[in-house]
Symmetry: C2
Subunit: 458 residues, 2 copies
Amino acid sequence: MYLIEQKRKIPLCIQLYEELKKDIIQNYNVGEKIPSIRKIASIYNLSKNTVEKAFSQLVIEGYIDSYPKSGYVVTETNYQDFNNNQKIEVEKNDIQEEILYDFFTARLAQNSFPLKLWKRLFAKVINESLDFGKYQDGQGELGLREQICKYLIKSRGVNCHANQIIICNGFADSMGLIANLLKDSYKNLAIEFPGYHIARSVFNSHNYSITNISVGKTGINLEELNQSKSRLVYITPSHQYPTGVTIPISKRIKLLEWAKKVDGFIIEDDYDSELSYTNRPIPSLQGLDKHGKIIYAGTFSKSLSPAIRVSYLVLPAVLLNKYKKSYEYRTSKVCLTTQKVLEKFIEGGYWDKHLRKIRTSNKKKHNIMKNLLIEKIGKTLKIERQGSGLAILINPTVDFDWDKLEALSKKNKMKLYYAKERSGGKWQALMMGFGGFNEEKIEEAIIVFSKIWNKCII
Amino acid sequence: MYLIEQKRKIPLCIQLYEELKKDIIQNYNVGEKIPSIRKIASIYNLSKNTVEKAFSQLVIEGYIDSYPKSGYVVTETNYQDFNNNQKIEVEKNDIQEEILYDFFTARLAQNSFPLKLWKRLFAKVINESLDFGKYQDGQGELGLREQICKYLIKSRGVNCHANQIIICNGFADSMGLIANLLKDSYKNLAIEFPGYHIARSVFNSHNYSITNISVGKTGINLEELNQSKSRLVYITPSHQYPTGVTIPISKRIKLLEWAKKVDGFIIEDDYDSELSYTNRPIPSLQGLDKHGKIIYAGTFSKSLSPAIRVSYLVLPAVLLNKYKKSYEYRTSKVCLTTQKVLEKFIEGGYWDKHLRKIRTSNKKKHNIMKNLLIEKIGKTLKIERQGSGLAILINPTVDFDWDKLEALSKKNKMKLYYAKERSGGKWQALMMGFGGFNEEKIEEAIIVFSKIWNKCII
């Protein structure tokens, strides 16, 4: 007897379908006939139409089939466990260790994001003209590209046109696009060593071989680059990651000559130039290029928010045409509303204001941390890099127990970041990020840190 | 003589820096001394500090350097063209051909997106608790994963836990993640033929070899799959792309047995099951799986919007653990606010309502198109697939000039989509998408279409 209740919220045909399915699985063998539509309709006082719907669903799912003259016959019963909520053996999310002091170098302060303004702009841009029904332009919305273009020309000395800009979903997505675009002609990537670990891993996962090129006081070693067979190089010319050195103009020109000579490309990662607060930002390498040899990469993750997922590329004309041909199926990976809000944000002058604000705030935090470090443990440390970005890099000038540092920091719920781990090289330094702290918290963190530091001096 | 004006808005040190740079490039040779800081400060009536800033910028950029006892010496002058707005030779955006009738199958109607509600929910979720300063959980926000999980259990018969869900940036991103995760152990992907071209191209670009498996009336051919050496297969079991067939329960069980036997995985792409409007959605294959052999993939692109960039994966436990180990550097690719709004959207019951609404609307449009096709050209066409999704697939039953169809449709500003081109196979059909039209427009489009159709009959 099937349980079919008129009063239940579930449509009658679905109730019947569920009951029939249960019945077939439990009580029928393959090849057996089930009662006819007419019979079931009459027993349960249902319309023929209702019963037909239930039968049709069972036919589609493959439990029964209709044969001329013999009616509906069971075709499968070997199905027992569906929908009975078996237990799934999945580890619960690992309980995150509580961290009191996180010196992460790419962490922005929670209160630095212009929340209210973003909300206001969102309410403004979301209107009937936005088409959420379609896949968006793979290059990104033209309006946003125009705003980024203006900014790059004015503030970064980039020589570009909005048509050359591709909006991407963060740095790894930008690099993935380049890796894909070039993989037919380039098999190897030369990379600064030490250098940014994520650039390395993206190209690695696209099956490029990687050639390490050492970094000196003026950045990447040109001789090594020349000797390598690579025709593609990734660099951070304005502010090398992680050492912070700047490539001087003379070497910049030589790099451009190298790219022309080998018919190659230089990927210029300009990840945090706008954050420089002691010097004026160094004009981009791209602005010097006359032969379309620079692929310029920028991001909003380091200066606005990594949670909005927006980065961008400026492709030279020859690659742009290749992109247009090979990426026909590519659709934008950046949320439409985010693109629209960001466009209005730059257009309204808020981006410039925001940059000024966070430069001032970063400079202040930087100085607080620097002064505290010098005051507390200045006699035993050397500052390797300072004055820009979101971190001060330090090393001990005395014999030092790095393992003990790691153990003690963990014990004190402090998370430290090591240049070696994050740049693939041998070069070691502690990367003391201050972006995530507010000013008061820096003092607290450095006091705890310096006590740990002193215990690690051998 | 340098042009330094107190009245200009540009800081004095930057004015001086620009003037000095120009002077060095135009008038100095490498090795020549430039005037001292003190001298310049006195000539232009500037503070020593201002001049020092300008010098320091020139040192960082590599134009000058200081030597003990000899002062500042020019190190590079070979730099002429920066920032003078050279012309960039980039093609303007290709002028998009105007299209009057676009039968694209993955196009949603512009007015189907719940714009006002989205705006309201956005205003609600954006508040101080959101942290835009950090990289978000690579798996996606837990709250959204919980909502998707509930939906999948209830409406798709998926057997899962929120911990197994990964929020991705659309279908290609989902597939890219799987391709990356499995590439060490799996080198080949078996795929339905004809089958979804994007699944094919993503695995292709991750260097998988592809084995085509033919599709019959009950979906993928099991014998061919058995004979292939592949241990990984991509299928659309509930609603095969593009033929629309459903894999019956008996074959589903055999597929699961196959996956267990070969120690493989089945990627179940459940791309548009929720859109079925003649039958109840077919319960997922994943719900039958007892051995963790199904990787379940879903998306919001086909039913809500492709412009919000949200898809998801349900990983079996063994892959989840692999994911957690190998994707340490992975950060979420979906905009934080979108995740939050979508969470509230599902939680508030709006997602269920939305699905009901668009199912009704799609059914209506489907019927209008179907009836018009039958009325106008029913004698010369066969309907290959109907009753779900956003398209009716048709073929001529008479001799037909396909080339002429292509030419005439283009002339009439009509965009048609061919199954062959979009599924890599030999199987041909016209994919008559109705999602992007409103109801009135369908009639207009089909009238024009049927005139063209009739001209192509040989």
